[in-house]
Amino acid sequence: MVKKILLFTLCLSLFYIPMGFAKSKIKIGLMCPQTGSWASEGIDMKKIVNLLAEDINKKGGVLGRKIEIIDEDDGGDPRTAALAANKLCTRGIVAVIGTYGSSVTEATQNIFNENKIIQIANGSTAIRLTEKGYKYFFRTCPRDDEQGRVAAKTIKKFGFKRVAILHDNTTYAKGLAEEAKQNLEKMGGVKIVFFDALTPGERDYTTILTKLQSKKPDVVFFTGYYPEAGLLLKQKKEMGWNVPFIGGDATNNPDLVKIAGLDAAKGFYFLSPPVPQDLDTPQAKAFLKAYQAKYHALPGSVWAVLSGDALLAIVKAIDGSKSTDPDKMAYYLHYKLKDMPGLTGKISFNEKGDRVGDLYRVYKVDDKGNFVLQPKD
């Protein structure tokens, strides 16, 4: 009897599968760090992408089909990411969003490329990712060489003469530090008195600060991430050392002020693409309102928001090319997509898959701990 019922169900299910396909959803992958030290970014990415997907589905989806987000945890680790990418490839996705760290994204690039899946990274700024000629790879974030140029220009503009550059030996931070150093040396008139790295994940950086202080720099440019930047600012203040600090875009996180304390954080400059809070576009405003209504907080960093832009670009490509064929979508993204209004401004890609336009702005932490956009030049 049991066997008969099983057989019957099997027959039924076989019968229903083709019908299921006809109305199937369009599956879009999301690869993000939900565990590991970047978990806060990944969890925020998931929140933002799901929020936007719900909104798109409410408006009827795309090409008359709903979209479904399938997320995988990459753990912020290249090995886990490669596994996650392989798993996503078996789930029938047409495109994938992610991920945050450059070295993590790099481990997945050829997996997605071989499987002909469009990949749009949101936080991976390392230059070489788009220099490999992958046809299906894009990113909504800017590149490090762009940031290095803006950093050098900013330091020069402030008139600092003795510059200390501190990185944390990650692919991203070291690349940015070297980029800034080369640009500064090319411009001339600036002396680099210190160029070295700290170990991320520690709590005590007084040994490094003491050494920095002995080199008497006019300014310190730190290219690492916000947890270390916060501690550096706090411990520098405790030492009674009053030197201006400039941070790279990875310091753009509201937790920086919490970690450093208001007194120590004020006056800190950093470079970053503009956050939705500073944009006047209707897309940015509507997104912020929806995000706050659902999660009762502001989005953490600009990188997670850029994953939302990746989703919008994918949906636009499906809609514009009227298909989910990867070649048609890639063609659309490379050559047809122009100035799409996104959450972080207008979005277009060049033939390498890089986002077009100069995005970097200078921010300053004010007396109340707010990040204030500085006027451009």
Binding site: A39, S40, G42, T199, G201, R203, T206, T207, K211, E238
Partner: protein, 301 residues
């Protein structure tokens, strides 16, 4: 010369924390020959419990900051100690007679479980202790600026270590711990309840780790569920440098590691700081495989 002394004090303050955590590794190793890789995460747990206590109970206004912190310190040590006992029951006792490697794998698993549970409960974002609980003024000593809290932290670590040393050397339970460390079977024949002694060790070690976590939280202010990994690793190295299984060795190893790191960063390179510390570890292991104070093999703890 001023730079040298400034870095020396920086290193001693970091080393005090390493030493306090290293004690947990060394005590467990002494009794069970097991490296408790979950110890760093118990340290994290201490920091997080401290955060919960400080933000949920407003005692500071009622009884003043110092008594509050003292009371919270005791509560944290108790709770983390109990967590240590539970950890031993669940993750290590069932494997007592198994291969030693099995227990190490279990320890790594326990470490992942604890840190990810903390992430699920408290979230993945950085948490920050309330600011300005303790007065933090800077002392000017011979032209050096030393924040008062650093001196307090070092002193407190040393006091806790001295209490532990006296406890192990002078009390009946301490004698039983030393006996168990030498030989489980013989200790059992002498009427020592070995399981109970192991529980005591798993209470004391994590309790000290929890206290270190609370101190780190109070001073550096920043919490993250991954923070135990780095501290655990460094403390483990400290324990090996001093001679694992040996209590004064852990203290010496911790302080030494802190100072080596600070001076290495000052005079060679900050990015080579860890490499220098590991290099010293290798030299010590080549010259003295048992660690600096590790010669009394029979007297493990």
């Amino acid at each position: 010369m001023e730079l040298f002394f400034q870095q020396l004090t920086n290193g001693l303050a970091i080393g005090g924390i390493y030493a306090l955590i290293a004690l947990g590794y060394t005590m467990v190793y002494g009794v069970l020959k097991l490296i408790n890789f979950a110890h760093g995460d118990l340290f994290t747990l201490g920091a997080y419990i401290g955060f919960t206590l400080l933000t949920s109970m407003n005692l500071i206004g009622k009884i003043g900051p110092l008594p509050t912190l003292f009371l919270f310190g005791i509560i944290i040590m108790g709770l983390v100690g109990i967590a240590g006992i539970v950890l031993e029951r669940i993750a290590y006792r069932p494997l007592r007679s198994a291969d030693r490697l099995a227990a190490v794998v279990s320890a790594l698993g326990a470490s992942i479980v604890i840190s990810n549970s903390i992430m699920l409960i408290y979230g993945a974002r950085f948490l920050v202790y309330p600011h300005h609980i303790l007065p933090n003024f800077t002392i000017n000593l011979l032209g050096m600026k030393i924040p008062f809290m650093r001196i307090a932290m070092l002193l407190l670590s040393i006091i806790l270590m001295i209490i532990l040393y006296l406890f192990v050397q002078k009390t009946r339970i301490g004698t039983a711990i030393r006996a168990t460390a030498i030989d489980h079977g013989a200790a059992r024949l002498m009427g020592i309840d070995v399981n109970k002694i192991i529980s005591v060790v798993f209470f004391i070690g994590p309790a000290l780790g929890g206290a270190a976590g609370f101190m780190v939280g109070l001073y550096y202010g920043q919490l993250n569920f991954m923070m135990g990994w780095m501290y655990g690793l460094k403390a483990f190295i400290a324990a090996v440098i001093g001679g694992i299984g040996n209590i004064p060795g852990a203290m010496l190893g911790g302080l030494l590691l802190g100072v080596i790191e600070a001076l290495g960063a000052a005079y060679i390179s900050t990015s080579w700081k860890d490499a220098i510390a590991f290099f010293v570890l290798i030299i010590i292991l080549i010259v003295r495989p048992t660690g600096i104070l590790g010669e009394r093999v029979a007297d493990k703890i």
